[in-house]
Symmetry: C2
Subunit: 145 residues, 2 copies
């Protein structure tokens, strides 16, 4: 609202965009996948049976269905994931990691931890990490309105 507030938000958006761009480049370089690919692979790996319904994946990432669908199409073409039918619901589809996806996820996780530790987490104090949590919580509250 105030010029100060507007500027503070803009600065935060700018620096987070820079960090994301750097993470993206490093993942691409070290593991051959994008940050979006990495998030999808991670969400699958975290799921109970290492497989997940597509609408649940969308909910987990906060993505629209059509974005998920296009993304999975590209990832399946590159042999990162596989689709399989859902017996319980004829409309549904499961996705799981393909062999190449598992390998890419392993490499990407190492690269991600490296770059995020180097450029972000390693440079924040414990107090700043707490502030980050607090700020995130406040924003989630505010955005839910």
């Amino acid at each position: 609202m105030t010029e100060t507030g507007r500027g503070a938000w803009r600065d935060l958006m700018r620096v987070t965009a820079e960090v994301n761009a750097r993470v993206n480049r490093e993942l691409q370089r070290q593991a051959g996948i994008s940050l979006a690919d990495f998030e999808v692979l991670n969400a699958i790996a975290r799921a109970p049976e290492r497989q997940i319904r597509i609408f649940e994946l969308g909910a987990a990432l906060g993505w629209e269905q059509s974005r998920v669908s296009h993304q999975l199409g590209r990832m399946q073409r590159r042999e990162l994931v596989v689709r399989s039918e859902c017996a319980a619901d004829g409309r549904g589809t499961f996705i799981a990691l393909a062999a190449h996806g598992r390998r890419a996820l392993r490499r990407a996780t190492a690269a991600y931890d490296r770059v995020l530790g180097d450029t972000v987490l390693g440079n924040l104090t414990a107090a700043q990490l707490d502030a980050l949590d607090d700020l995130t919580a406040a924003l989630q509250m505010a955005a839910a309105t």
Copy 2:
């Protein structure tokens, strides 16, 4: 690095993405332009003579040259900005607001302040705003490494 840290960062990225998506939709709906358009128009309006060299625009926004060039091409086609030659440097180009760009900027600024105030700034305490500044500064420091 720690699972806690990774999760905290992921949560922040997720909520900021949600806020940006909301801002984008509102700008599109209320002013007919995207957030990227808005940032460009704003940077021009803030410049000394309300005109700016293209490489300076890129520096101001933290964008690569080719992204700026494509963006300006689209914006010029929609009559939001105009290009003009630079007398002092034959390689250079100035851009300025077109009449339609000025109108869009006015509407967009009001919409932006509304949505950002409603979903972010209005819901943060003064202490949280200070923490936001502090965090941004720490990230800028870290990212500069």
